[in-house]
């Protein structure tokens, strides 16, 4: 097309073991705000890093204004008038705003006066409605102001194409409004903006067009005014075939986990959970749906004792275990399958046998007093490896050499072998192939059969609706509603994932 400023064709980018971008085509028009939507790990940031010269693609071509270009590094990108604002700002905190903006950017005029530079920065800021004090030191600024400095830096360097990587993740609602006003002004001045996000409502509000990525592939590009959050949610989360699952009627027992008005902060000290209340019964799979980053990680960590609660209660079998140390919670029979299998769930350099006793090494038969019982540990490992079909050359193999699916089997084997009363599973099938996914599903169902209470957090609506007995939808740290997945349409869950409360969905009785 004639007015495409950016045209990326057939971009392929591989990382060891991952195909991050699989033949992706992507176009941006002059003066448009183009949202790039997808789950975590869908390849949004990778694609834009290719455009900004941070990664080199393994295949594919990039055209700027219909001219094929070869972008080898960020400097080349700037030459092509492409600027990217990353999630983590690249600012020198003891330096002033002006110094940061002009740093490392040699323009023909070598000795430009400081006053002139400050004036110029103020002018650019004014033009797009960004208030900033050019003399302030970066450390004195709020996160929102630092983001403005990053944007100004790119504009100062002449960026016509501006990529923003999840710019709203760190902002307050007021700052988000300011940012959106700025983006509108920039677009009407002829700048093109790529807006990376996984939040449906923002995308609907700010963008002209949306491109949805899923698992490294482009699903579709649509005009925002012709689409709906429902459709976008479906494109983003997608379908997956589930078969061969044995799901019994289930016998729901008494309450095992009870969460009352729970509050917690994210790593960035922003409110991540806002008075979350629900309970999970024995023999029940309680699903939590939502786009990643809406408080799921924090919720699981607070229950497991890895993150302090800032209000509210966590009761397990009636015992108040709010903000107790993790050991106390493990001893109460809580198993936890963390989102990060390699970083949290296992110790890569230790053997499979060592990894299989991570939770119960303190107790007989694995140890007597201070002494480990190496033979029992080995026998335990070999029986679990067999029972859970962990494929490994030996019990002494380092855990890091296992594939994703086998590593997840290892974690599940360990957690299930502790006969948990409550199991928290966070994205347990993410990145797994179909057979491994199915095995994980079956293990969760077997635990349900045995009377465990299961808190099942996932982004995949299909597995959530198939497995869950009840399903809650979380959005920005709040529960939008709790439904019976058998009686509700996917679209309604999609709307709740986009921030609509169940009460506002004028529909038949869907409450579970």
């Amino acid at each position: 097309m004639e007015n495409d400023v950016v045209r990326m064709v057939g971009i392929v980018k591989r990382f060891p073991g991952v195909l991050a971008n699989d033949r992706v085509d992507f176009e941006v028009k002059r003066g448009e705000i183009h949202a790039l939507l997808g789950e975590n790990g869908a390849g949004k940031t990778t694609l834009m890093c290719v455009l900004a010269g941070i990664y080199r693609p393994d295949a594919g071509a990039i055209y700027i204004n219909d001219r094929r270009v070869n972008i080898r590094n960020p400097r080349d990108a700037i030459k092509e008038e492409i600027g990217m604002v990353h999630q983590n700002f690249l600012l020198v905190t003891p330096y002033t705003v002006t110094e940061n903006i002009t740093l490392g950017f040699n323009r023909p005029k070598l000795f430009l006066g400081r006053k002139e530079l400050e004036q110029e920065i103020l002018q650019i800021g004014d033009k797009f409605g960004m208030k900033i004090d050019p003399q302030a030191k970066i450390w004195q600024l709020s996160v929102g102001e630092q983001q403005r400095v990053e944007i100004l830096k790119m504009l100062y360097r002449g960026a016509q194409i501006l990529v923003l990587d999840e710019p709203t993740a760190v902002l307050t609602p007021q700052e988000v409004n300011d940012l959106f006003l700025t983006l509108r002004k920039m677009a009407s001045a002829g700048h093109s903006i790529v807006f990376i996000s996984h939040k449906l409502d923002e995308v609907m509000k700010i963008s002209d067009r949306v491109t949805v990525l899923k698992k490294g592939r482009k699903e579709a590009t649509v005009n925002t005014k012709d689409t709906s959050p429902k459709e976008l949610a479906r494109l983003m989360v997608g379908k997956e075939v589930l078969f061969n699952l044995r799901k019994s009627e289930g016998k729901k027992g008494e309450v095992v986990l009870s969460v009352k008005e729970l509050q917690a902060l994210s790593d960035k000290s922003l409110p991540a959970l806002k008075k979350v209340t629900f309970s999970v019964h024995s023999g029940e799979i309680f699903g939590i749906a939502g786009v990643a980053g809406n408080g799921q990680k924090e919720l699981s960590e607070v229950i497991a004792g890895l993150r302090p609660a800032r209000g509210g209660k966590v009761l397990i079998c009636g015992k108040d275990l709010t903000s107790m140390p993790p050991l106390k919670i493990i001893e109460e029979g809580v198993a936890y399958i963390p989102e990060d299998r390699k970083g949290v769930g296992t110790v890569g350099n230790l053997s499979i046998a060592d990894n299989l006793i991570l939770k119960n090494y303190r107790h007989p038969p694995f140890s007597q007093g201070q002494f480990l019982n190496l033979r029992t540990i080995k026998n335990h490992a070999s029986s679990l490896v067999e029972k859970f079909q962990i494929i490994t050359p030996s019990l002494d193999t380092s855990a890091k050499l296992l594939s994703g699916g086998n590593l997840q089997r290892l974690i599940l084997a360990r957690e299930i072998s502790c006969s948990p009363k409550l199991m928290i599973a966070v994205h347990p099938t993410r990145g797994l192939d179909i057979s491994a996914t199915e095995a994980v599903h079956q293990m969760l169902l077997d635990q349900r059969e045995k009377g465990a209470a299961i808190l099942f957090i996932s982004e995949d609506l299909d597995e959530l609706t198939t497995l869950s007995d009840r399903l809650a939808v979380i959005y920005e740290g709040e529960i939008m509603g709790i439904v019976n997945p058998a009686l509700v349409a996917l679209e309604e869950i999609g709307l709740m994932m986009a921030g609509k409360r169940i009460e506002t969905l004028e529909k038949r009785e869907v409450k579970a």
Binding site: Y336, G343, V344, V347, N349, L350, K359, F371, L374
Partner: protein, 354 residues
């Protein structure tokens, strides 16, 4: 064109062994260059060094005497490194251990009882442990960088001992030299076979065996391995990281303190200015060379004891003994470089088109 590092998915146990060996060989080659630049024959110098260190019964015994404090310090340092705690304060912990043991010995100048030496050992261990706990507590409670605190406390400890040997504990009959009076004979560690090899060698080898067993088959050892490899997983598994950091620093400092005790009780027989020629620093190199394996530490310590003793004998050729420290330094550099090569492979990114 550029040179980049690419992470290796796996690295073999063979490289684990080859990196230290190649580091030593290359360091000796570079040392040979330096020797020949100073106008000597490298072969003669190395022959002289080797003969000085291992050439006779006497030289072997002297090598072992030097290896004892190295072993104890390196075992302690290695345990801390295994937990990813960078205790580089073994030198100071050694001095405090020596001081505490000396204090006991000087308090009982005529002591002949069987309990005097055990009491000195206890004092030495506790002294070193407490000195190690200072950076340990700061690290565990406030995440203060232990590299800086443990390093700077070395100077405090060394100067603190100086204060005593220049001041209150100075030998009145010592013509003003900075040392304390000799300890009573009852505070001397027994020696073997008419050499200067003392009972400390038994402590050191025993300590190595205990640490080996601890890491392999004790709960604390398992916790140390998990925390050292992945602290998030340790937290997830409910381990008490705070407590483990303190225990590791206490054992690490305690072993260095025991080295100090062994040195004053077994070799010097009194406190003095400059008890250690940097054993605590050399221990860091030894710990790395032995890949934090306690049994390997014993062997590598003897090699380094030999390097120190051999360094004395090259003086007869007219070479400076600082050659030894140059070689030590080069070994450490090569080890660190080798460390990178075991985890990454070097890749040429040729051409300008992608």
């Amino acid at each position: 064109m550029s040179l980049t590092l690419e992470k290796r998915d796996t690295f073999s146990t063979l490289t684990n062994f080859l990196v230290p060996v190649i580091s030593i060989v290359v360091a000796l080659l570079i040392g040979a260059l330096i020797i020949s630049l100073s106008g000597f024959s490298p072969l003669t110098a190395y022959y002289e060094m080797f003969a000085g260190a291992f050439g006779s019964g006497y030289s072997i015994s002297e090598t072992i005497v030097k290896a004892i404090p190295l072993m104890l310090c390196a075992l302690g340092v290695g345990l801390a490194f295994k937990t990813v705690l960078w205790n580089i304060g073994a030198e100071g912990q050694l001095y405090v251990g020596a001081w505490a043991a000396g204090w006991v010995a000087l308090s009982f100048p005529d002591g002949q009882s069987w309990w005097l030496i055990p009491l000195m050992m206890l004092a030495g261990f506790i002294g070193g442990a407490l000195w190690g706990l200072i950076p340990g507590i700061l690290k565990a409670s406030m995440n203060v960088n232990e590299i800086i605190t443990s390093l700077l406390l070395n100077y405090v400890a060394i100067l603190g001992v100086d204060y005593f040997v220049y001041g209150p504990w100075k030998d009145p009959k010592g013509y003003g030299f900075p040392f304390s009076p000799f300890f009573g004979q009852g505070a001397w560690l027994p020696t073997f076979f008419g050499t200067r090899i003392h009972l400390g060698i038994i402590f050191a080898v025993l300590a190595a065996l205990i640490l080996y067993y601890l890491l392999k088959s004790m709960r604390l050892g398992y916790e140390i391995r998990v925390i050292g490899e992945n602290v998030l997983a340790a937290r997830y598994a409910g381990m008490n990281i705070f407590r483990t950091i303190l225990i590791v620093f206490a054992i690490s400092g305690g072993l260095a303190g025991l080295a100090g005790m062994a040195e004053v009780s077994g070799v010097i027989h009194r406190l003095q200015h400059a008890i250690s020629p940097g054993y605590g620093y050399t221990a860091i190199i030894i710990a790395w060379l032995s890949r934090l394996n306690p049994i390997a530490t014993v062997i590598v310590s003897i090699l380094f004891g030999g390097l120190l003793v051999g360094g004395f004998s090259v003086r007869s050729l007219g070479l400076s003994e600082s050659l030894v420290y140059i070689i030590q330094g080069i070994i450490l550099f090569l080890l660190l470089a080798g460390e990178i090569l075991t985890r990454y492979r070097v890749v040429w990114r040729g051409g300008s088109r992608g």
